[in-house]
Symmetry: C2
Subunit: 136 residues, 2 copies
């Protein structure tokens, strides 16, 4: 059976990158690995390693994304939780067989990873992303 290995990242919706850095980098003392425009997510993402995981600060660059709607409705906060798995295809098949509702029934393939989201209706309101890392 496919297995969850660890928390890959916790994604946090932020309305302003510089203001968020004042807290996460300057106050908490965390080190930013890099800041990247991610066109596939229509977002600017700040990657902050924390132990074996990351905090990702996500600022939408378009109004028509889930993160932009989340910000408009709730303000900033934790947006999703990403688990790294050893076999995303097997995990998705297994979840589907168990009646779990998926946003992506087949993984999206991006450089370095395959990814899919579980629908929060099936996970008690938590938006969960799954990653399988692949050779870059």
């Amino acid at each position: 059976m496919a297995k969850i290995k660890k928390i890959n990242h916790v994604a946090i919706a932020v309305p302003d990158v510089d203001a968020s850095l004042t807290f996460w980098r300057d106050a908490l003392g965390l080190a930013v690995d890099h800041i990247e425009d991610v066109p596939s997510q229509k977002a600017t993402v700040v990657f902050i390693p924390v132990g074996e995981s990351e905090v990702e600060l996500v600022r939408p660059t378009s109004e028509d994304t889930g993160v932009a709607k989340f910000l408009a409705e709730r303000g900033g906060g934790m947006h999703h939780l990403c688990f790294e798995v050893d076999d995303i295809q097997g995990m998705l098949e297994d979840l589907k067989a168990k009646g779990v509702r998926l946003i992506n029934e087949t993984p999206l393939e991006l450089p370095g990873r395959k990814m899919a989201f579980i629908h929060p209706k099936s996970s008690g309101g938590v938006l969960i992303e799954l990653y399988e890392l692949t050779a870059p």
Copy 2:
């Protein structure tokens, strides 16, 4: 300067322990370490190790807690993010000097750990808990 070491846990508010286990244990395949009544939190907590961190499913046992209010307002979802630090007293002094609003200005001492919360007004809407593990 005090330092964040890792994500200790992500706490998830759940209205029903059995229903939450159907997803987190049975569908995702995560192993429950133990389930415990935690009177200091007025909650039943399911401890689920994930890599070096944990997912904690928190079901309030009283209506007058922050988690109970969160559930009543939003339904289930991610409630707080807990970082493990090497020196919680130093971290709190440092945060206070930088103008960060704290819920607990001095750490609460519990068996095995000291803990404090940062106010979400200072962290862009994310409720952040800090832990320093101590000898049991």
